[in-house]
């Protein structure tokens, strides 16, 4: 994914603010789109387009920046949000940050501050997307495991000895070792330690034990 694929979405009821941010993004060579309200942006932003959002905190005749953040989250979009405000106060700053804003800028910030916030947001967007890619790869690799291999894998990651596994599963020690080899290979792990790390990571991403997820792949 190239930086140039990302789009900066600028949302502000003030045309001059909107256009000046757009001009900045434009001169720095990025794609930019502007909206007067959060609502009109949401209409446009139906897919998870890479980029970032720069939104005013309070917008006349429309949802606030914070409401927009919440709505994006509801829709499962992770696009990072930079909130700018002419008169931020503590309570809405805290709320914006809790909602995962990259930063909250006041409208007396320098162009550089604004730009670095946008750059940071875009970076986060890329990071997010990269991370998500990694998770998907991981899940894909784990998905290659056959059910009997999953049985063995869950025991390996819990530190169960091979002969105990063989005994538990009433299979030969040799079979256990073959499966263990396959497991490491399929999941791309060089060692049991790596497998454990991948397993935990997967468990974190999935929010449940991977063996459950693998047993019922329909769950998401």
């Amino acid at each position: 994914m190239e930086v140039t694929d990302q789009i900066v979405f600028v949302i502000d009821d003030d045309e001059s603010v909107r256009d000046s941010i757009a001009a900045l993004v434009d001169i720095r060579g990025l794609k930019v789109e502007t909206f007067a309200t959060g609502e009109s942006f949401l209409t446009r932003y139906s897919e998870d387009v890479p980029g970032c959002v720069v939104t005013d905190l309070r917008i006349e005749h429309g949802m606030t920046g914070i409401e927009l953040q919440e709505e994006l989250a509801n829709r499962g979009f992770t696009i990072p949000v930079v909130v700018i405000s002419a008169y931020a106060n503590v309570s809405n700053a805290v709320q914006a940050m809790n909602n995962g804003a990259v930063t909250l800028l006041e409208k007396n910030c320098t162009t550089d501050e604004l730009w670095s916030s946008i750059v940071e947001a875009l970076q986060r967007d890329r990071d997010n997307r990269q991370e998500r890619q990694e998770h998907e790869d991981l899940l894909e690799r784990f998905s290659k495991l056959k059910p009997e291999e999953v049985e063995v894998m869950t025991r390996i990651v819990r530190g169960t000895l091979n002969k105990v596994i063989a005994h538990d599963l009433k299979i030969s020690l040799r079979t256990v070792e073959t499966r263990r080899h396959n497991i490491l290979e399929k999941t791309g792990s060089d060692s049991v330690a790596e497998l454990v790390r991948a397993y935990v990571q997967l468990e974190t991403v999935l929010g449940r034990s991977p063996e459950e997820a693998l047993a019922s792949p329909a769950g998401s």
């Binding site: 003030d14 001059s16 603010v17 256009d19 000046s20 941010i21 001009a23 900045l24 001169i27 720095r28 006349e60 002419a86 008169y87 409208k107 007396n108 910030c109 320098t110 162009t111 604004l114």
Partner: protein
């Protein structure tokens, strides 16, 4: 004259005389009554018989007894005038209701009369209060005496009553005026009262005049009698009367009159009729003489002389009196009467006739008094009735006046037709009484008719009037206010000292000059337009400017009353220098403007948060645009980017202007505006005010909507102040809406402006929380009242003041949304009231 009837020779036929007197009695213009008081006499005797020592004191403590004396009076006879005076329809009615004549305030006089009569005084004369049968209060002059021979029994009481109500009222009026004057003199700072009084006196002048002349009821009546007729008419009357050939013939002290049934020139004593005629012709003042009747042989006679004053505009009532009197003149001479009745009647008539006060004397060329025809009061006053004919007339006159008196006589004797000899007054007795004397040539032999009239009270009244005038002059001259008398065409007729000071001119300069020269050129047109409404009394007060002698313009307040000045309508102007008040007003206004400025700054504090936002946005985008331009200019491909850069610079200009607009607006609102009324478009006012507040409104998520007139409406107003009023109301509404916690309704402020004839109505309507329970909206306009902890609480008080200065009103009420509606009106012409 008291012995007038005491030496009456026998005469006949008496029947004729009786009838004549009956008619005379009933037709007399004087109210005459014949009472039988024997019952009263008896009752008084009874009271005294019970051992009462002091009848007067006893009656005083027994008013209930006294009031019973009224009904005890038995009416024997009443003449027509008598019935008229009490409003009775018939003698019968009067007989029954005579008691109603007396009420509580009549009793004291009645009491003293009864007591003095009881003690033996026959003649009683008083002024009293009586009541008509309709209940009207009248003042009367009453003369009461018992008929000859009835002094003890009181069977025959003769009463003559004259209604002097109008005179009394005039006197009371004069007393009232004098009191006001005294009060005025005590407090000279009451020029308004003075003006009022002057007007009042002028308005009342006929009555006042009457009151001065009406010194004596009888005199006045004679005036009235004479008033209707010109000298010519009187001559005609005398000529046409069948009984005119009537004259006294007397060679003794006693006056004797004779009647000739068949008048003939031979029998006529020479001179009298001519004298009467000439006197009638030449007297310019009225006086009357009704000489009583005496007999010669078998006949009796009445004589009448009337002297005329030319009066015009007789009232109906006066005409009636004149008519009655004419009838009387005819009757007097038409018949003879029985002799025996005459004694009583003559004394009765004497008491009537004797009330005519003027003395008519025939005087020989050398001044010897030849005859006295009439003049009871004169005789009594001089006390020389019996000896008059032995005196020369000049001996009656005080030494210092004697030569003038003689001069006049000789001028008349020498043929001068002194139709209106204006003689000064002669002190006849110790200077306490004044008489007026007039002379009319009578015969070739130098005889003259001299008429004496007692003018003491007239003089007193005139002196009093003179004092009144003097006091007026004093008050006029010493009034702290400038006072002008001005003719309707604007010529100064009189001016007082303060007026002279005001214009720094002498009185001689002011009087005769035009008032338009006394006011600044700018005000002349307005003054000219004011004349009519002033004359009609439509305007009684106004403010204008005066021009002082050195050209300074002095603001003045003027009060006007219309008066009659030398018989013509005129204006009385009280002009008060109100420079100090105006300065005070200006000072107050200055303070108010300062306060307004402070208030604006205070409001700015509340508005500025919104402004900061409003300015920050364009400023921030400007700085961003600048950075972008800068960056674009430093690129290698700058040439390609030039159109974009130009575009950006245009944006920069636009945003800079925007900032400028906002700051200018705020600056202009915060600055000290120059006071002054200018024509302003209503929509501009609203737009400006909304412009100042919209950022605050926006930052509080308040929507401002307006509904303005379709047609452009201009009002004359002090733009800064009215704009501030609007801003203040909008700002208050913003504050009210901001304090409200989360509301389901969007916050709105609606501004409505509509024109209604001369008024423009502004409404600022919000849907905020309104007023706390139990708070009177009117309280809002009191100074230092605030429901918020910010602000000074003077904003609305100032709004109130601004709007009132513009002749408008402002009010507040809680509207149907629970929010507040403020409404104020302004006059399109910006005048503070309807005055001009």
């Amino acid at each position: 004259m008291t012995s007038f009837a005491s030496d009456i020779p026998p005469f006949s036929p008496v029947d004729l005389v009786q009838e004549r007197y009956e008619q005379l009695f009933h037709s007399s213009p004087v109210a005459l009554f014949e009472h039988d008081w024997s019952d009263i006499r008896q009752r008084l005797n009874e009271i005294v018989d019970t051992g009462i020592d002091d009848l007067g004191e006893w009656l005083k403590s027994h008013p209930e007894e006294l009031i019973e004396f009224g009904p005890r009076m038995q009416i024997v006879d009443v003449n027509q005038a008598g019935l008229r005076i009490y409003g009775a329809d018939s003698i019968e009615e009067f007989r029954v209701r005579v008691g109603e004549v007396f009420r509580e305030d009549s009793l004291e006089s009645l009491r003293s009369h009864l007591v003095s009569r009881f003690l033996g005084r026959n003649h009683y004369e008083t002024e009293n209060v009586h009541y008509t049968l309709n209940g009207d209060r009248i003042y009367v002059h009453v003369i009461v005496r018992a008929a000859v021979g009835y002094e003890e029994s009181w069977d025959r009481i003769l009463i003559s009553v004259a209604d002097i109500t109008s005179r009394r009222q005039a006197e009371l009026l004069r007393d009232g005026q004098r009191q006001v004057l005294e009060q005025l003199a005590a407090d000279r700072s009451l020029p308004d009262v003075l003006a009022c009084l002057t007007g009042e006196i002028e308005k009342q002048s006929p009555d006042l005049h009457a009151s001065i002349y009406d010194i004596d009821q009888t005199t006045f009546q004679m005036h009235l009698l004479a008033a209707g007729s010109t000298a010519g008419e009187i001559s005609t009357l005398l000529d046409s009367s069948p009984a005119l050939d009537v004259f006294p013939s007397s060679t003794t002290d006693e006056v004797r009159l004779e009647l000739f049934d068949e008048p003939s020139a031979e029998n006529r004593p020479p001179g009298l009729i001519d004298a009467v005629r000439r006197t009638a012709r030449h007297c310019d003042y009225g006086c009357g003489l009704l000489a009583p009747i005496v007999t010669t042989g078998t006949q009796c006679v009445g004589v009448l002389a009337i002297f005329v004053r030319n009066h015009s505009n007789l009232t109906q009532h006066e005409e009636g009196v004149v008519a009655d009197f004419r009838r009387l003149t005819g009757l007097v001479f038409s018949h003879s009467e029985r002799r025996d009745a005459l004694v009583t009647r003559t004394s009765e008539l004497q008491s009537i006739f004797a009330t005519y006060p003027d003395a008519l004397l025939r005087v020989a060329a050398d001044g010897t008094i030849l005859e006295l025809y009439s003049g009871r009061s004169m005789g009594a006053d001089l006390g020389v009735v019996g000896s008059w004919t032995r005196n020369t007339i000049s001996s009656l006159v005080s030494t210092e006046d004697g030569h003038r008196f003689r001069d006049a006589m000789s001028r008349v004797a020498a043929g001068s037709r002194l139709e209106s000899v204006e003689f000064s007054l002669y002190d006849i007795i110790d200077g306490t009484q004044s008489f007026e004397a007039r002379f009319v040539p009578l015969e070739e032999n130098g005889e003259q008719i001299v008429i004496f009239r007692d003018v003491t009270r007239l003089q007193e009244a005139e002196r009093e009037l003179g004092q009144v005038s003097e006091r007026f002059r004093y008050l006029f001259d010493n009034s702290p206010d400038a006072i002008f008398v001005e003719s309707p065409d604007g010529v100064v007729l009189d001016a007082n000292r303060a007026a002279c000071d005001l214009h720094q001119q002498r009185r001689e300069q002011l009087v005769g000059s035009s008032v338009f020269d006394l006011i600044p050129a700018d005000d002349r047109e307005a003054a000219a337009g004011r004349v009519m409404p002033l004359m009609t009394g439509e305007i009684t007060e106004f403010e204008s400017n005066s021009l002082s002698g050195n050209g300074t313009v002095i603001p003045v307040s003027v009060r006007i009353s219309t008066i009659t000045y030398d018989g013509d309508p005129a204006l009385l102007l009280h002009v008060r220098d109100i420079s100090e008040r105006k300065e005070e007003e200006a000072r107050r206004r200055q303070q108010e403007l300062q306060l307004a400025h402070v208030s604006r700054l205070t409001m700015m504090g509340q508005i500025v948060a919104g402004i900061a936002h409003e300015i920050r946005q364009p400023l921030w985008s400007i700085s961003t645009f600048v950075d972008v331009c800068h960056e674009a200019l430093s690129r290698d491909d700058v040439t390609d980017r030039l159109p974009r850069i130009r575009e950006l610079i245009e944006r920069l200009v636009k945003e800079t202007r925007r900032v400028n607009t906002i700051t200018s607006r705020m600056f202009s609102f915060a600055r000290k505006g120059m006071p002054g009324r200018t024509p302003v478009r209503v929509t501009d006012l609203v737009d400006e005010a909304v412009g100042i507040l919209e950022s605050r409104a926006r930052s509080n998520r308040i929507e401002i909507t307006t509904k303005l007139p379709d047609e452009p409406v201009m009002i004359l107003c002090d733009r800064v102040l009215i704009e501030q009023t609007l801003v203040n109301l909008l700002n208050n509404a913003c504050s009210a809406l901001s304090t409200e916690a989360e509301s389901p309704q969007p916050s709105t402020i609606h501004i409505e402006v509509e024109q209604q004839l001369e008024l423009v109505r502004f409404r600022v309507i919000d849907n905020g929380p309104g007023l706390p329970e139990g708070l009177d909206p009117e309280q809002l306009f009191e100074g230092f009242f605030t429901t918020s902890d910010r602000g000074m609480g003077i904003g609305l008080a100032l709004c109130h003041s601004f709007v009132e200065d513009h002749g408008g009103t402002i009010r507040a009420e809680v509207n149907e949304t629970g929010g507040m509606t403020f409404e104020f009106t302004l006059r399109i012409d910006g005048e503070s009231d309807g005055s001009h």
